[in-house]
Symmetry: C2
Subunit: 440 residues, 2 copies
């Protein structure tokens, strides 16, 4: 015989009690439903893939964080995001997909990060992308963040801001300064909010950029004001390169279209500090910050890319994508008290209690309820009535039905409202009408 | 620059094209919805757990098949089923759970099995269990297979049989023969359908059982007839031990109650060959066989257990559980042609096509449609009308709306039925009514 091992999970992994899980799933459903309402098709890829596929792009940080192992002669890895598998999938089934291809994917991804607040090593990502082998309208760049806006609003978040920038704009601006190491600058811009202005400027100086230019860069990226004000300032800058102009046009259009898509103007801002430096983005980029918890980082990010699947095919697939980090978002909602926990630990709407061992009637009534769409459970064990009511109470089952000899003979059911304590005697059909009327 | 790597996934992993994925998800939704209708609460556990937790029970086969690896000083494994994590979860949150606890869990599990037809290394399991720290009614043993029956029926399966046995019955019978190695016999019984009667008898003889007894065992396990006939035969056997009698009572009650739960009598049979020998079951056991494809093995199995979490707590948790192997089931449905593929490659109900760049109206109309619950997509790219219609056709989007200058001026929409080619000119409200009437 084995001894007893203390039950526990690994640090950095999220696990929920039933009442929390119900709330988590409700958010997941909202996301899924909104994606489908907007014409996105579900996709699923394996959690384990060939290491050479997942790490085809390379990148030291990613390589280090990825869970990799060997089995037999195979090098295997757990997916660390849903974008790389999507790129591989698009290349693999290229001839069978119809473009523009709109897919959503919701699933767990794995990163062996340092354990810190709100960061998990196994977490859900919820991705949408629209890709095409031809030109893809700039309208998609506005459509995606407006879908994300509607999701975040639906789940009860109020104080968040979608920050928008454009890599062409940033690249064009930096090009106009005739810098040699644009990547280094982008990397520094990416973290200016974290490290502060002094450290940022210092980093640029270390890259060999003279302090005049450093100041120009800093003034550009911290531009503040309404979207219209920022647009008007950056339009007037005397920068004459095609990249900058293209970026300007795009961000201008995206900003206007987001309004048309119904996003309130205080919910999205042009923020020239957003670089997403290490990514493959080439146009619009997004991050979403909780106004009161900027230190938690972005809960919904993404951008436009020119060549999604370049590691797997010569075919150029352009597109735009965004991703919600659901596990972190859930952690945040819990922290800031947006999950009220009034939901109970069950989805069951009604508990049927038999006063004798007359299961036949209880089972028939339950079948009828379930057919009508009511989540129903029968309490089969022989216990005192009090214990059964206590069970309903503890779980948060809102209604209890009693079936005893009297009820069977009179073809009536006794319905107890567990919140008010009120009892009604009704026919089966009346109970169904009642339960459907008070919501599922 | 990297070269191009041929996109592929590992052998033994399932990946679906959009039209198949839509069908897969529809089945998943049916399972989830039925579980919730029957009062089961959602649960989720990490995919990666501590190896010492997942392999606490031991078992050479499981150990070999499990994907294990180290990271830092930790020994990690991917879950190989949802039962062991459930046992760990129940022990870990014992004081916070309310019993009887009814949970469902749907998720991927991983087994590095030999690659063979219909077997996958990463596959979805869909589990339900009812556990309690007190006595749990035998009615649950009948409730679970009837829930599974209703799911299999709903997804269109017709020729399947739920096979039921009881470990007490089997143990009691073998005990009455005064055998020393009951486990060895159970293991042989478990595979008699695969290896045939000769090999089976031979295996028992190798265990040192005399041929008289071997014949007795064989005649017992291959008993055939209606459930009533089998029950009547095994009731008359002159076996006087408590285990046998308890098993007899249980299988009798389960058989009767399943009828009360509405399972047609030809859909469940008492099959004394079902042993599930290597498992922790102690009472009722189930397997579900496709009548025409018995060689594919069970697609839905489970049983009653006395002590779920014995490796993690001293508290005795008894219960009953069943699990659908969804990935294999989907493979089978595809193989036998039960997936007709008429569904198209999209969930989108209507494609909105603008005849100019008048996005404002298209976006407003789409928002209205989506609010009413209609999956809607706008085609933003500038292309010839023909190309746009072809896109709808290829994806299987059933309706297209045209919005041009005329339509905007007259506040009418042109609606084209892509199946019939018919066109109607309607108001926005009329279109919504129409689309809701033809189903989502």
């Amino acid at each position: 015989m084995n001894g007893i091992i203390k039950p526990s999970i690994l640090p950095g992994f999220m696990e929920l009690l039933p009442s929390e899980q119900i709330q988590f799933n409700r958010i997941l459903e909202t996301i899924k439903d909104t994606f489908e309402k907007n014409g996105f098709t579900p996709m699923d890829t394996p959690i384990i893939e060939k290491t050479e596929i997942l790490l085809a792009k390379g990148g030291e940080e990613t390589d280090k964080q990825t869970y990799s192992f060997t089995r037999g002669s195979n090098n295997l890895s757990l997916r660390f995001d849903l974008t790389v598998p999507f790129a591989r999938y698009s290349a693999q089934y290229l001839s069978e997909l119809t473009f523009p291809f709109r897919r959503y994917q919701i699933g767990k991804v794995f990163r062996g990060e340092r354990n810190q607040r709100g960061r998990y090593r196994e977490f859900y990502q919820c991705d949408i992308d629209i890709i095409s082998n031809r030109d893809l309208s700039i309208a998609s760049d506005a459509e995606l963040p407006s879908i994300m806006y509607s999701i975040l609003s639906k789940i009860g978040l109020q104080n968040f801001t979608i920050r928008i920038n454009n890599r062409k704009l940033l690249n064009g601006f930096l090009k106009s300064l005739e810098l040699s190491d644009i990547t280094g600058v982008l990397r520094a811009i990416d973290k200016v909010d974290k490290i502060g202005s002094e450290a940022f400027k210092n980093e640029l100086i270390c890259l060999g950029i003279c302090s005049d230019t450093v100041d120009k860069i800093y003034s550009f990226i911290i531009l503040q004001g309404s979207n219209e004000e920022i647009l008007s300032v950056i339009k007037k800058l005397d920068i004459d390169n095609e990249t900058y102009k293209a970026g300007l046009n795009e961000i201008d259009e995206v900003s206007k279209l987001m309004k048309v898509f119904g996003v309130p103007e205080d919910k999205y801002v042009i923020d020239l500090k957003i670089a997403r430096g290490l990514d493959y983005y080439t146009g619009t980029v997004y991050e979403t910050i909780l106004d009161e918890y900027p230190e938690l980082g972005s809960i919904c990010s993404g951008g436009r890319y020119d060549n999604l699947a370049q590691n797997y095919t010569k075919e150029k697939l352009q597109g735009v994508g965004m991703s919600i980090g659901l596990t972190r978002l859930f952690y945040v909602l819990k922290e800031i008290g947006l999950l009220k926990g009034e939901e109970g630990s069950t989805l069951t709407k009604v508990l049927i209690v038999t006063m004798d061992k007359n299961f036949e009637v209880a089972i028939a009534v339950a079948a009828n309820f379930k057919n009508k769409g009511i989540n129903t459970q029968i309490y089969f064990e022989e216990e005192k009535l009090n214990k059964k009511l206590n069970y309903a109470n503890k779980l948060g089952i809102p209604y209890v039905i009693f079936i005893g000899e009297n009820e069977v003979n009179n073809k009536r059911l006794k319905l107890k409202d567990m919140n008010t304590g009120n009892q009604l005697e009704l026919s089966e059909e009346e109970v169904i009408k009642f339960l459907l009327a008070v919501g599922k």
